[in-house]
Structure formats: structure tokens, C-alpha cells
């Protein structure tokens, strides 16, 4: 029988995949993908806890996470397009304007 622990372990695995992606990738669009993975891992944990504790608050917070992810993508993609138009690349190693 599947318990709450199974879902939390799965959520931890997905979240670590996302963190590894954030640390490893140098392309900004890939960083966005890794962020989406981490948000989804949190959603899985929220839905599981909500289901096993018979409480709807978890699902509510999952809805707000979905809304935040949608607005993040809208603003972030706009900024990415501006950056790409200006510098012609999405590689993080090229953005060294702040280097002293």
C-alpha cells in the first residue's frame, strides 16, 4: 500500500533533480525548466499531504503555486527575449557585466 512517505520521497527525488539542474545548467532557459521541476515537486508534496491528512489547505497552496509559476513564466520569458535580442546568447557565462 502506498503511504504518505512514498509521495514525500518521490517529491524529494524530483526536487533534487531540479536543484541539480539549477546548479549544473548554464543556459537560462534550462534554468527555467529546472525551476518548473522544483515547483512541481512541491505541488506533489502538497497534494499528498492534503490527501493523507484529509485537509484541503494543501491543494489550495498548490493552486497558488500554479498561479505563481504561470506569472513567473510570463515575466521571465519576456526578460529572456529582451536579453537574447540584446546579447544574442542565453549562456550565463556571457553575462559578466557586473564583474568589477
Amino acid at each position: 500500500m502506498i503511504g504518505l512517505t512514498h509521495y514525500l520521497v518521490l517529491s524529494a527525488i524530483l526536487f533534487s533533480i531540479g536543484v541539480v539542474g539549477v546548479i549544473r545548467r548554464k543556459n537560462l532557459l534550462m534554468l527555467f525548466f529546472a525551476t518548473e521541476i522544483m515547483l512541481n515537486a512541491a505541488n506533489v508534496a502538497f497534494a499528498a499531504i492534503s490527501s493523507y491528512y484529509n485537509d484541503l489547505s494543501g491543494q489550495m497552496f498548490a493552486f497558488f503555486i500554479v498561479a505563481i509559476a504561470a506569472s513567473e513564466v510570463a515575466v521571465g520569458l519576456g526578460l529572456l527575449i529582451l536579453l537574447y535580442k540584446k546579447y544574442g546568447t542565453l549562456d550565463l557565462d556571457h553575462y559578466t557585466m557586473l564583474k568589477g
Binding site: F15, I17, V19, R25, I37, A45, I49, S51, L77, G78
Partner: protein, 186 residues
């Protein structure tokens, strides 16, 4: 049956997200991310969160991934991404440890204490009905704030991505396009 479905979804999601993180091709990464999100909605359906599963399908797979797909038209998505990577072992060690630590920190209170149920589902109501009852009574203010946030995000997206778009390519004469294209070839 539930056990089989859970393990099937879990293995597929983990594999697809691993492809997303490891792939060197932008299109492969985006496609596997979209497939993983579809399967995550399957997990929600197993958990009895029907409305959340549908929202996941509509918003994530339908809107967010479509937005990425359209945004990708601005970038050269077909090529292989060249990235300079340091030691991969250190990355996996640091990433895994950080993530496990975060999950333990946030999951420990839930497992440790017997958390009382604040808003249990209404007896006799199916999931979307119960969600609606709680969302529009207890969480009405966050709901409205989220709506304002989405409006701000929409305006920001239009303004950021729509700069210098008043010159429409479809309104330019074909002859002008051909001459300018010829100049580029030379």
C-alpha cells in the same frame, strides 16, 4: 492497482525530468518536461485531487509549456547547447544534499506532530465542489491577490516582449523584403 500506478508514474516522471536536466537539446528538454507534467497530473488523480489534476493539465501543459514553445521561436532552439561544466560529482553531491535537507526541514513538522485538519472536505461533496467551497470562503483574499498578480504578469509580459514590435513584417512589401534579404546574402 494504486501501487502499480504510483510506481509507474514515479519512475516515468523521474526519468523524464532527468532527461530535462541532462539533455543538451532545448527541444528534447521541453518535450520531456511537458510529458512529465502530464504524468504528474496522473499522480494528482490518484490522490483524489481531481480539480488540481485538471488545473495542472490546463495551466502547466496547456499554457506554460505552450508559452515556452512560442518563446523558443525567438531563440535558436535546434542547435546543441554548449555549456562549460565544472566537476559533475560536486554538483550532484551539493544539489542532492541541499534538496534532501530542504525537504526534510519542511516535511519533518508534518510527519512529527499529528497535524489537525483545518479545512476537511465537506461530506458528500466531490472534489471540485469541496475545493470551491474552501477557496471562495477561507482563501478568497489570496485568490483575489493571485488574480491581480496574474494581471500584472500579463501586462509585464506584453510590455517586455512587445518592445519594437510596432513594425509588422506582414505589412512590408514583398519587394522590400526581397531586396533586404539579398543584401544579407551578400
Amino acid at each position: 492497482m494504486e501501487t502499480f500506478a504510483f510506481y509507474l508514474f514515479a519512475i516515468l516522471i523521474t526519468g523524464l525530468f532527468a532527461v530535462t536536466v541532462m539533455s543538451r537539446n532545448l527541444l528534447y528538454a521541453m518535450t520531456s518536461l511537458a510529458a512529465g507534467m502530464v504524468l504528474i497530473s496522473g499522480l494528482f488523480f490518484i490522490l483524489g485531487a481531481d480539480f488540481l489534476g485538471v488545473v495542472q493539465l490546463i495551466v502547466y501543459v496547456g499554457a506554460v509549456m505552450a508559452l515556452y514553445a512560442f518563446g523558443m521561436m525567438f531563440f535558436d532552439a535546434t542547435g546543441v547547447i554548449k555549456e562549460k561544466n565544472g566537476s559533475p560529482f560536486l554538483v550532484f553531491l551539493l544539489g542532492g544534499m541541499t534538496a534532501v535537507l530542504l525537504v526534510v526541514i519542511f516535511a519533518a513538522p508534518v510527519i512529527g506532530h499529528n497535524v489537525p485538519s483545518l479545512y476537511p472536505p465537506v461530506a458528500g461533496a466531490d472534489n471540485p465542489h469541496a475545493v470551491g467551497l474552501v477557496l471562495f470562503t477561507k482563501y478568497l483574499v489570496p485568490f483575489e491577490v493571485a488574480a491581480v498578480m496574474l494581471l500584472v504578469a500579463m501586462i509585464a509580459g506584453i510590455i517586455l516582449a512587445g518592445k519594437k514590435m510596432e513594425r509588422s513584417i506582414s505589412k512590408i512589401d514583398d519587394s522590400e523584403l526581397e531586396t533586404s534579404g539579398g543584401k544579407d546574402d551578400e
